[in-house]
């Protein structure tokens, strides 16, 4: 009952936010200085052609009318064309999306595994070595520019130690990409038992994933530590110990299980920053995902992809937040209406 009501409220909020996002994206395209017709045709188009395009795009109509047309196009999957690649923006996105997903997932996985372990270790031995390490990492991790960390790692592991390949893409140039299933090279090469591609894709993935993973590592560690300390000091953990349960069972199944609830929402919040960071990391490592695409569009003054990306990423991010909230139902039975 209460769940259904909460869900209803949550969905209403989502609709509202998505509407807001579409307005912002629409404004970026239509109201602020800059001519979308020209941006579609490119800087070399004649004024006549631009006028024709304006009429074709409905730019001579009123704003609300334009918004309706715009959203109609968006729903039909028409996000405009990139004059740099000569492709529909939607097509370009679909092509590059898996690379970004692969990078973000790998980074998140690293950050969660490392952050949760470190946070637990810090909470178990307060003021111990791991605790100090966690505090230090926490403050350093949020202070360093992610693109600079990437370059430092390249200096260390590529140009000095020569243990990892140069930051040029997702695979060695002499290795063929695995058969496309998910678009994530590591997953695809696993699924197709393509060990050569797996090895190469992992080698190329390590540095960018570590670089991007540093971003959410600090907050995840900090949150895990705090939640874990609270759980370990709780009455229910004391009661569980009085029952004679093993230390592992108490720490992992009871304390950690409870501590993970706030950590999950933290991870959800980090996704937004992760997408932003991914843009920078992809530039540094020439990782051909959405970020690099965005960068090249910026450099080439190709506006359609940039503005569409704001819309897509905004909506995507709102959906991810919804998913995280839904996940709450699965892991926290106490949730009612907030």
């Amino acid at each position: 009952m209460t769940r259904r009501r909460y869900l209803g409220r949550r969905l209403a909020l989502l609709v509202l936010v998505v509407f807001g996002i579409s307005i912002v994206a629409f404004l970026l395209v239509h109201v602020l200085p800059g001519d979308p017709a020209r941006s579609r045709l490119g800087v070399f188009a004649t004024e006549e052609l631009v006028q024709l395009k304006r009429a074709e795009m409905g730019l001579d109509k009123s704003l609300p009318e334009q918004y309706v047309t715009y959203m109609g196009n968006v729903f039909r999957g028409d996000l405009g064309d990139s004059w740099r690649t000569h492709n529909p923006v939607a097509e370009d996105f679909v092509e590059r999306f898996p690379a970004t997903i692969e990078l973000a997932l790998a980074a998140l996985l690293l950050a969660v595994v490392l952050g949760v372990s470190l946070g637990v270790a810090a909470a178990l031995r307060r003021n111990g070595p791991f605790d100090h390490l966690a505090t230090l990492l926490g403050i350093l991790g949020i202070s360093a520019p992610v693109f600079w960390i990437g370059l430092l790692l390249i200096i260390a592991f590529v140009t000095q130690l020569h243990v990892l390949p140069a930051p040029l893409g997702r695979l060695a140039s002499d290795v063929e990409a695995p058969t496309q299933i998910t678009g994530l090279y590591v997953v695809d090469s696993l699924l197709t038992a393509n060990w050569e591609a797996l090895r190469s894709s992992l080698l190329y993935l390590v540095l960018p994933a570590v670089t991007l993973g540093i971003l959410p590592l600090a907050p995840i560690t900090r949150m895990t530590r705090a939640a874990m300390i609270e759980a370990l000091d709780s009455d229910f953990v004391r009661a569980a110990r009085a029952l004679g349960l093993s230390r592992t069972q108490v720490v992992v199944k009871i304390a950690l299980r409870n501590a993970l609830i706030p950590v999950v929402s933290m991870v959800g919040l980090q996704l937004g920053y992760l997408v932003g960071g991914a843009v920078l990391v992809e530039i540094v490592f020439t990782w051909s995902g959405i970020g690099l695409y965005l960068y090249r569009s910026v450099i080439g003054l190709d506006f359609a992809p940039i503005q569409s990306l704001v819309l897509i990423v905004g909506v995507l991010f709102a959906l991810i937040n919804l998913a995280v909230d839904m996940l709450y139902f699965a892991i926290d039975p106490r949730i009612r209406v907030r």
Binding site: F236, A239, R241, L243, G244, P333
Partner: protein
């Protein structure tokens, strides 16, 4: 195991809490014992060290507290000398503990069924069906309405009394020989509290168990206990059979406690003990002599410089007080 010795013997137990300003002597060289099939009560105001004593027995003193001295002999084993691995097998199986706040003591994100199964499987290898049968039976025995349905519930969906029943079921599931109950009725309303006490008594009779009952309610002590220890500021100031202690208290603090219980109306929300004038001394820098001296109506000059001796005023009846005080105060 010696057949007639006490089930639990606590001697010279010392628990300190390390703080920034020094060591806090929460429990200072206390002595008491609990016989088999006996209910032993521990009374005292909050902060007197009752709960810390109870947690010491289980080896669960929270950080920064630490047992720094003394022995805790359970049966024929000194718990302080056993490795954690062994103590763990005693916790829950041979010594159970019921906590003050039942809801907070249950895992908030697991159903009752999971938590009962954890308790049942902590020390015994049981199949799923058996776990379920036993869970239902235990809850029914404890007077839980509709135990089958209760199994599927989370703690936040249950009343305080029901949470208490779940916790008691968990703690009694292995039929411990010693059950520690720390203020078990404080969080409950009167009827539910009375039912719980009745259940504890029945458990004790049926399984020949012993109970360490911590409370600040003298009425509960009178009703439930065979012997009682009175704690004040980290000391057990008087210990003996309930009848003797109640009829003929020998320590001024016990006397004050009993007087205040008899004097006041039962409806007052204050606990009996909180009506005794004065405050517990600062345990960071306790006075060198008797810790009750500043509040004591019978205080003598001799009380302040030296620690009071432990005197046996009658067989099994010990008092931590200067002999002269006891004599003067027993005179009228």
């Amino acid at each position: 195991m010696s057949a007639n010795g006490p089930l639990l013997q606590v001697s010279d137990l010392q628990v300190h809490f390390r703080t920034r300003d020094g060591s806090l002597e929460a429990v200072d060289r206390i002595n008491f014992e609990i016989g088999s099939n006996e209910v032993f009560g521990l009374v005292g105001e909050s902060g007197s060290g009752k709960s810390v004593t109870a947690l010491s027995i289980l080896g669960l003193v929270p950080s920064p507290g630490r047992i720094v001295g003394g022995d805790i002999v359970f049966g024929d084993r000194n718990l302080r000398e056993l490795p954690e691995r062994v103590v763990r097998t005693i916790r829950g199986r041979e010594i159970g503990m019921i906590f003050q706040n039942p809801r907070a003591s249950l895992d908030p994100v697991r159903t009752v069924a999971v938590q009962l199964s954890r308790a049942l499987r902590a020390h015994h290898d049981l199949g799923r069906g058996e776990v379920r049968r036993r869970s239902v039976r235990m809850l029914r025995d404890l007077g839980m309405p509709d135990p089958e349905a209760a199994l599927t519930k989370y703690p936040h969906q249950l009343s305080g009394g029901m949470c208490q029943r779940v916790m008691v079921a968990m703690m009694l599931s292995s039929r411990p020989r010693l059950l520690i109950a720390d203020e078990p009725t404080t969080a409950l309303d009167e009827t539910v509290g009375a039912q719980l006490l009745e259940h504890l008594r029945r458990f004790k009779e049926e399984h020949a168990a012993s109970i360490l009952l911590i409370t600040h309610d003298m009425g509960v002590i009178a009703e439930m206990c065979d012997r009682v220890g009175v704690m004040h500021a980290g000391h057990v100031v008087e210990v003996g059979p309930v009848g003797a202690v109640f009829r003929d208290p020998r320590h001024p603090y016990t006397r004050a406690l009993l007087d205040s219980t008899l004097r006041i109306d039962r409806d007052s929300p204050l606990s009996d003990i909180e009506r005794i004038p004065g405050t517990v001394p600062n345990l960071l820098h306790p006075p060198p002599g008797c810790r009750f001296a500043d509040r004591c109506a019978y205080v003598l000059p001799a009380c302040r410089p030296a620690k009071p001796p432990r005197l046996e005023v009658a067989p099994g009846h010990h008092v931590l007080c200067q002999e002269t005080v006891i004599r003067e105060f027993a005179a009228p």
